[in-house]
Each structure stands twice: as structure tokens, then as C-alpha cells.
Symmetry: C2
Subunit: 409 residues, 2 copies
């Protein structure tokens, strides 16, 4: 399928200094000069967002969410305005738009808003006028409260995919890695770049630690049929296409991913009656925490339950759990910060039940102990000691022969 419009997304490291800003401008101009209608969406420069968060915490221990969004949304505006200036100097017209000017309407959940709708009239008009349009990533606007919102982690990727869906455009996501690999090349030097991967596999990879694309952007892309081209800011080589899977040619296992960002909560002494788990996870979800693996066990009529959450959600999780004590009575909470997760991803494993056994055997042969296991039709994840992650990734990459090109079975 050919597109006449492209949305090109550049992350914070791609615009970290004035020289890089000019480089991004050149890439956008080159696409425009190939005859495309071009939308650029850009994250805040380098560590700007972290700097603003630090500043907020120096002023207030628990910054108000609405005000935090007002603060954080400035980072992307700065980056977009600078890219637009640099484009002018290259002889093309450009205009930068805030999230609200670009019609990115969200709900009103500050710091983690979800995109509801894109009213892209102003973007379209500017494209019709031959301009390159820069849209500030990571932010939107709530019509209920008339306030600026931010989209949380992965927000700029979500902005790019949602804009591509609204404009019927291709979506190119640029970063400092040249695509999606069979494993992290820093751990497995022989890891191979995948030419294409299905939405489903990419979802599992993003959920289990691959950083190249954010989960919510892949979800959005799948739901709206947007093809994503994940590629390098610094070269013209083809990256990885994320698209509808072609079941006939699916390899059994596509990639090994890992994550060192999980904290495992274990609750003991909670009553074993119906509805307790539902209640706990309702409260945790209401705190906007993304729970990953959950396992439950009943010991002497009391339930024991473990689940993992991203490290940054630990304070929210603690608060949510405390709020259930009135109803659930005394229970103990333990946190384990020393675990990591290694996962095998592959749409082909759906029809190959032996994959899990082979994974567990490989880990056992390398002396690696399993703490928790969770599976989906196309993924198997194991929580293991964090220090053993590199060895586990290398062993699995070898065992499933990911270094050589895949053979469909």
C-alpha cells in the first residue's frame, strides 16, 4: 500500500541538542521533497521531561496532576518549535502545533490521559497548504475540563500512531536503534533485526521489556490498522515493519525479550473468598497501575497472591493496597525488587506446545531458577533473579536458533 502522507516520530534522544534538531529537520524536509505530505511529532529534548519532573518535586512533594501536565507539556512544544525553525532555514514551510491545536482530544486523567479522538482539521489544512506540520507529542486536551493533559509513558508514540490513523498515513517511528531485534544486541551480539513482525508479537514484546516501541502505540496501531515502520534516526536503512501477521510464514519463536523494571508484590493472609482478587485488582487498576504477571495460591484457607508491576508504579500500588485493609483485614505485603523477567515471543508457538518445556529446560540447564511463570498463546515469561537475565537471554537466543533467518514450519 502506498501512502501520500507520512507521520514521522522522533524521540527525545533524536532532538537532544541543536545539531540533532537540525538533522531531524533535514529528514522531514527530505520526505517532503520526495513529494510526501509530512507530519513530524517530536518528544522533549533529551532529559528535559526528567528535569521538569525534578523541578516539580523540588517545589512540591506531591505535585498536583493538572499542574504537572501544564508543566510537562512545555517540553514537546519547545522541541517542535525548534524543529519548525530549522525547517524554515532549509527552505520549506513548517508550522508547529500544540496537542490542543492539533485536535488531540483526550479524557481528563492527568499525567496518564488516553486519546479519545483526533480532530485533525488544522493539521490537514496546513498539509494542504504544503507545510510540514510539527505536532507536540505526549499531550492533548480535555474538552470536559478545557485543560492540557499529558499521555504518560510512550505518549509521543501514541500521538504519532493516532495521527497516522486520523490522516490515513504511514507511521515511521525513529529512534537510536535500527529496528526490532531478536534480542537486545547489547546482550546478544548476534541478535538479528527482524524485517517484519505482527502486531500481536510486537504487543507481547513491548509488554515484556522491548523498548523500541511502546505497548500502547502498538495497540493503537493494531486497532486502527496503522503500519508502523520502526527505524533509525541516523541511517536510511530499512527498519522493521509492524503490521498484520501472515500466519503461513510465522516462525515458531521470533524473539527473546527481557525486563529489569519489575517489582513483585506478594500478599499473604488475605481471606480466601470469592471477589477478593477482583477487589484488590479493581483498586490497583483505579490507581492506574499496569499489573503484569499474577499468580495465586491457597494455603490453609488463606490466599497467597503475587503480582508484578513496573517499578515506577510501586508507590501507587502500596497506596492502593493500604486502602483495601478496612475491608480485607490484616494481611502481609512483601516486595521483591531483585527479580527480572525473560520472555519468549512467537506467533508460531500457538501451535507448538513444546516451546514452554524447551524454554524451562534451557533455563534449568543453565542453573537458573524460576520464580513465577506466565503465558499467553504467543508468549512465555519467567521471573528470575535479576542478575541472571543476561545469561538467560543468551541461552534462549541460542537454543531457539534466532541468529539464523527463521524457517516457517
Amino acid at each position: 500500500m502506498d501512502f501520500d502522507t507520512v507521520v514521522m516520530k522522533f524521540g527525545g534522544s533524536s532532538v537532544a541538542d541543536p545539531e540533532k534538531v537540525k538533522h531531524v529537520a533535514q529528514r522531514l524536509v527530505a520526505a517532503r521533497e520526495r513529494g510526501l505530505r509530512v507530519v513530524g511529532t517530536v518528544s522533549a529534548m533529551g532529559r528535559t521531561t526528567d528535569g521538569l519532573i525534578d523541578l516539580a518535586h523540588q517545589v512540591s512533594p506531591h505535585p498536583d496532576g493538572r499542574e504537572l501536565d501544564m508543566l510537562l507539556s512545555t517540553g514537546e512544544r519547545i522541541a517542535c518549535a525548534l524543529v519548525a525553525m530549522a525547517i524554515h532555514d532549509l527552505g520549506q514551510e513548517a508550522v508547529s502545533l500544540t496537542g490542543s491545536q492539533a485536535g488531540i482530544l483526550t479524557d481528563s486523567v492527568h499525567t496518564k490521559a488516553k486519546i479519545r479522538e483526533i480532530r485533525a482539521e488544522r493539521v490537514r489544512e496546513a498539509l494542504d497548504g504544503g507545510k510540514i506540520v510539527l505536532v507536540a507529542g505526549f499531550q492533548g486536551f480535555s474538552r470536559e475540563t478545557m485543560d492540557v493533559t499529558t499521555l504518560g509513558r510512550g505518549g509521543t508514540d501514541a500521538t504519532a500512531v493516532a495521527l497516522a490513523a486520523a490522516l490515513g498515513a504511514a507511521c515511521e517511528i525513529y529512534s537510536d536503534v535500527p529496528g526490532v531485534f531478536t534480542a537486545d544486541p547489547r546482550i546478544v551480539p548476534g541478535a538479528r533485526k527482524l524485517p517484519a513482525i505482527s502486531y500481536e508479537e510486537m504487543l507481547e514484546m513491548s509488554a515484556s521489556g522491548a523498548k523500541v516501541l511502546m505497548l500502547r502505540a502498538v495497540e493503537l496501531a493494531r486497532n486502527h490498522g496503522v503500519r508502523i515502520h520502526a527505524r533509525s534516526t541516523f541511517s536510511d536503512e530499512e527498519g522493521t515493519w509492524v503490521q498484520e501477521g501472515d500466519e503461513m510464514e510465522q516462525p515458531i519463536v521470533s524473539a527473546v525479550t527481557h525486563s529489569e523494571n519489575d517489582v513483585v508484590f506478594t500478599l499473604t493472609g488475605i481471606p480466601d473468598r470469592p471477589g477478593v482478587a477482583a477487589m484488590i485488582f479493581d483498586v490497583v487498576a483505579a490507581a492506574q497501575v499496569n499489573v503484569d504477571t499474577i499468580i495465586q495460591n491457597v494455603v490453609h484457607g488463606n490466599a497467597e497472591m503475587s503480582f508484578s508491576v513496573p517499578a515506577e508504579d510501586v508507590p501507587a500500588t502500596r497506596g492502593a493496597l493500604e486502602s483495601t485493609r478496612a475491608e480485607l483485614g490484616p494481611f502481609a505485603v512483601e516486595e521483591n525488587h531483585d527479580l527480572g523477567k525473560v520472555s519468549l515471543i512467537g506467533a508460531g508457538m500457538r501451535s507448538h506446545p513444546g516451546v514452554a518445556a524447551r524454554m524451562f529446560r534451557t533455563l534449568a540447564e543453565n542453573g537458573i531458577n524460576l520464580q513465577m511463570i506466565s503465558t499467553s498463546p504467543i508468549k512465555i515469561s519467567c521471573m528470575i533473579a535479576r542478575g541472571e537475565i543476561p545469561a538467560a537471554v543468551r541461552a534462549l537466543h541460542d537454543a531457539f536458533e534466532l541468529e539464523s533467518a527463521p524457517v516457517a514450519e
Copy 2:
């Protein structure tokens, strides 16, 4: 006159770091706790705006005005959001608004927009709800282009006065000086803080170098009858009230001001025919340059003309002059960067013609040579060598006995 609403303006040095942000929050909360409806308007933290301008120039030699406004408007938003966070921690409710959210409508002249109208519904609603409202200074919104604009130098003072006019509020302008003085206390240690000064005198003082209040804010205040209280961020002492003058009690001379920021252009060889001066100053005004003193002379049928402009307007002035050459033929342009201006201000001098003579005599007795003179009914300015400014200010402060409280004549 008593007000139930107050607009409190804090400059960039008053919010330069997190501790100062918290201090500003305390001042706003204290006013709220005295029962007032409180609007705060805040400049960008410390040198933020200069940093953003530097960044723009690293990316582009001549940054696009629209994009520069998108960039620069972020500084005040950051400061306002931080102050709002700090107010929450002090137990009051607060909400920060961008210029466009606060209804500050401007023309479309980027980087130097003028306020046209304030639609303060959202500010009023928030005040009605008991909230302290922070309004990002220095910025507005053009309805024609739907773009963010910035107000240029003195923009945040203008925001404060315009809001006070729209809300029928008092206007307090806080800075690191405790009010308006008879001369710069760094040059004249015995300079005296004025308890009150008329709009007219303050206009002349701001125009001739006093930095405590910006010219446009004083103009706005006079046009809308807003009383300004210029006072210190760091103490509760009374500052200086800028208000309608009471002619009966006017001292002859109120203050000596000076400026080291002027560059004098001298044009020689321009044709001496009607309309030439009008043409030159039309073109210069179209470049948004604020011309101060102008003098003209005819020598051998050619006009010689000199005028002074603020140093930052020199490039725009040069460009404007070049553009008249096609019509005016060859003329020579000289620039003098070594001059400064010393001025006497006083509504009382209107009826005392001897003031100018006494000023010139005082300067002559101190061996100071006059390069250009300009006068208004309440001001006399002399351009002199920049190095002689401190001596001139001290001599005039002495000669007009400004150290002692004024006696009306």
C-alpha cells in the same frame, strides 16, 4: 478605594529557583487568607527566556517569529504551574492558566504582540470558586491566526495591568527593588523612595531608563485607571503607588533617570524635501523599532538627522534604513554606541521654565558635554558620553535637592 481582587505580578528573579517559587506561593496565599480574590501572574524563572532565545539561535540564525513565540511562551507556563503546585501544598486551591486560557487576546504581531482585549470568564469562574489563579505572563493568543503570541519586553507587567483592568482589581508589581526612587540607588546612595508618583511622570521615567516598571504597563494603567503598587518581593513595606497625579502637590522635579542602552544613528546627505522624515520614520516604525530622541538640521540643502534607538533594535533599524535607499538615493549612516542618556522628570517643571537651564548649567559645571537634547512638558533628557552618566546623575540629584522630601511650590 478598596478592592476585593488583587493581581500580583512577580518577575523572573522572584521565581528563579524552587525556594523562591515557594516564597511567591506564600505571598499569594497570605493575600488569599486576608480574604482577597487573588490572581498571580509570573514571568519565566530567572534567565529561562534568554536560554530559550539562545537555543533558538543555535538552531536558526533568524528564528521564525511564530515558532519563537511557541518556544518562549513555555517559560511562563512552567513558572505558573510550579507556583500553583506550591500553593496546593499550603492548603489553598490554585489553577494555572496559559495566556489563551486566561482569555488574553492580542493582535498577530509575533514576539511583540499588543493586547487587544481580555475575556476573563475563566479567570472569574476560578476566582468565584475560591481558587488562586495563576496566569502565564508575557503571552496571549491571536484569534485571527489561532496562534500563541508573546508580548515582547515588559510583557508580564502588561499582562498584570490588563488583567487588573479587566477584573477591576488593584495591581501589585513585585520585584527585587522596593519601589520607585529619585535616582538609581546604586549610583546615588542617598536616593529616596517615592511614596507615590503620577502616571505621566512614571511614563517619562520608564521611557528614559527606570527599569522598575515597563513603559507599556504604565501606559495601560493610565489608560484604564489601574493603580499600580510597585513593591518588594522580599518585604512587606509599602512601595510606590503609581496613580492619577494630584497637581496641587506636585514637586518641580521628582527624579533623575538614566539609560546606557541607547544607540544614536546619524544620517547625512538625505534630500531636504517634505515627507522624507515621515518616510524614514514610517519604515523604522514598521520594523517595530521604538525611536526615542530625534533631532534634525539642514546643512547646504541636505538634511542631517539623528535619532536614538534601544541597542536591541539596532539590526532592525539598519535593515529599515537600507530599504529606503532606492527612494532616497545615497546617504551616509553613522552609529554612535558610546552615548548614554540622563533625564530629569517632574510634572512640576511644566510651569517652571528655568529647570532646563539649571540642568544644563549643572552638567556644564561638571565638565559634561551635551550631544543631543530632547524635552517634553515634564521631562528633559540629555545624551552625554556614557562614561559620564554616574557623575551626571549624582550632580543633578544634588542640584535639585532630591534627597530631602519634596516641597510643593
